[in-house]
Amino acid sequence: MKTVFARTAVLKDCSTHYCPGCGHGIAHRLVAEAIDELGIQGRTIGIAPVGCSVLLYDYIDVDCIEVAHGRAPAVATGMKRTNPDKIVFSYQGDGDLASIGAAEILHAGHRGEQLTVIFINNAVYGMTGGQMAPTTMLNQVTTTSPKGRSAVEQGYPLQVSEVMAVLPGVVYVERTALDGGAGVRKTKKAIKHAFELQVEGAPGLALVEVLSPCPTYWRMPPAKAMKRIREEMSKFFPVGRLKG
């Protein structure tokens, strides 16, 4: 029988701690496949954020470091500047990258650091129990926006990719969505390209924002969560290539 799909060896053969319907498992696989296909497993260093994906190193089989909340792009800078031959990527959630680490991602892009950044936007703080994130949608109910996010009270959702795309030091920005088969394939292509650019020595930072479902804290079943990305989230966070 012909094998049409197999787990990449860069993804460890174990079950994850993620909730049913969570997007992290898919995103991890796509990152692992990209590393595998580019043949860079032996020279890649991954940076795990603070958040649900802090245990990234338990799933992706490359050298990994766990860092302070939001500081991944600064840590990555220290690694890549001292090891230009290594492939350094950070994997960060929306609280990590868009809130507490806003300065670090902005300035890593601003300096044109040769890094690959995978930004998982699920519009909520997952690990701490469903609080409002900078990317939480208007009217979305969270534990810290019990009446739903209001533009007047809490501001509009933060469009990080649009901000990053205007920086000359950023070479590639694409927003994709884990909202179904086509979205997963596009995400894979974008993630692989973001790694490829670093392998080729492109003069700047490559960022892929992945709209990702969090059924647990969106308080809906997985299928509905994917539908929400398509019908609601991607209206405010349009998918597509913003730069490069």
Binding site: I45, V62, D63, V67, N83, E104, H107
Partner: protein, 363 residues
């Protein structure tokens, strides 16, 4: 190579770090240490090494964290308010057991304070500084030559014990010029291989650098491991200097620039016939507790002199364990203790029941 040159403390320290094999420097501007990043921005690229001006001290220490995790010798420098911001990263360095060298050219605090010299960060430096149960080694130079000599020592200690070494200087040491000898010295220490470094898992198992330990009991186990390491530091790395202790009625305890002033005060007092001596802690952690404790068996009166409102004096009191009296004299917020003020205190104290124990002639 061993020619003497006239340099300010900050620049001399920077060149000494390069000689000590610093691979990467990351820093953010703050007075009174700006000569260091300025010097490094020119010299590190000349040497083919890394210099990055970070967006903040949070980022600077995180860059050190990243570079160190790959096995490189990395450092940052700052001054008091910036060091406060770095405490996050220093705690993570402790948790992940990574070596790092951090220089604090102290200024007045709290808050924005001022840019004048001070020893206001003793508590922060010697108690860990950030969150969690950890220590940093603290070296306190008192001359520009020591700022130079402590850089290879700091990198060696950091690598040997995989922990942060703080060099605690101040605005006077950073700014003043003194003749120094800058030379590359071969390390006498046997440093452990960095077999934990993140270099890409090519042909070996994945390396993970982490500080999160969730499994029941695992973090306690990790913290016990850290304590075992700290006990080795306490046992092996205490540095101090004794000065004119013979027959002392009063023992001054001071470090850094305050120790230089105290030394002059001891000399002046001796000229007047007042039997004063000095113990200068060189490592502030590990503190020379045993030395001062032993001195307290012999001498009855101690005087801690600091450029703050009384911080190290607590460690002196802990060290003497009630066996001797401990006085304090301090200036803060940019105030510097004057030799004549210290001599005045010594004059008064020498006639007030201190003195060498078991030796007569007490009033």
């Amino acid at each position: 190579m061993s020619e003497r040159v006239l340099m300010c403390g900050n620049k001399a320290l920077a060149e000494a770090a390069i000689l000590a094999g610093c691979d990467a420097y990351f820093g953010y501007p703050i007075t009174p240490q700006n000569e260091i990043p300025a010097y490094m921005s020119r010299r590190m690229p000349e040497e083919g090494r890394v210099f990055v001006q970070s967006e903040s001290e949070l980022a600077a220490i995180s860059m050190v964290f990243g570079a160190s995790a790959t096995g490189k010798r990395a450092m940052t420098t700052s001054s008091s308010p910036g060091i406060s911001l770095m405490q996050e990263g220093i705690s993570y360095l402790a948790g992940a057991e990574l070596p790092a060298v951090v220089v604090n050219v102290m200024r007045g605090g709290p808050g924005l304070g001022n840019i004048a010299p001070s020893q206001s960060d003793y508590f922060q430096a010697t108690r860990g500084g950030g969150h969690g149960d950890y220590r940093t080694i603290v070296l306190a130079p008192s001359t520009v030559q020591e700022m130079v000599d402590f850089m290879p020592l700091a990198f060696d200690l950091a690598d040997q014990y995989t922990m942060t070494v703080l060099v605690l200087a101040d605005g006077i040491l950073g700014q003043m010029m003194e003749p120094v000898v800058l030379e590359k010295k071969q390390s006498k220490r046997k440093l452990p291989p960095k077999d934990w470094a993140l270099t890409g898992a090519n042909g070996r198992k994945q390396h993970i650098v982490r500080s999160l330990w969730l499994a029941d009991g695992r973090l306690e186990e990790q913290n016990r491991k850290l304590q075992t390491k700290y006990e080795q530091v306490l046992k092996n790395e205490v540095l101090f200097e004794d000065y004119r202790l013979e027959g002392a009625e009063v023992v001054v305890v001071a470090y850094g620039v305050a120790a230089r002033i105290a030394r002059s005060a001891v000399d002046s007092a001796r000229e007047e016939g007042i039997a004063a001596g000095l113990i200068r802690p060189i490592t502030l952690w590990p503190f020379p507790t045993e030395r001062i404790g032993k001195a307290a068996d012999k001498y009855g009166l101690f005087l801690a002199v600091e450029m703050n409102m009384g911080q190290m004096v607590e460690d002196v009191r802990l060290a003497v364990e009630g066996k001797a009296s401990v006085l304090f004299h301090g200036r803060s917020g940019g105030g510097v203790p004057a030799v004549e003020d210290i001599v005045g205190i010594l004059r008064q104290a020498s006639g007030s029941g201190g003195g060498e124990k078991g030796v007569g002639k007490r009033k």
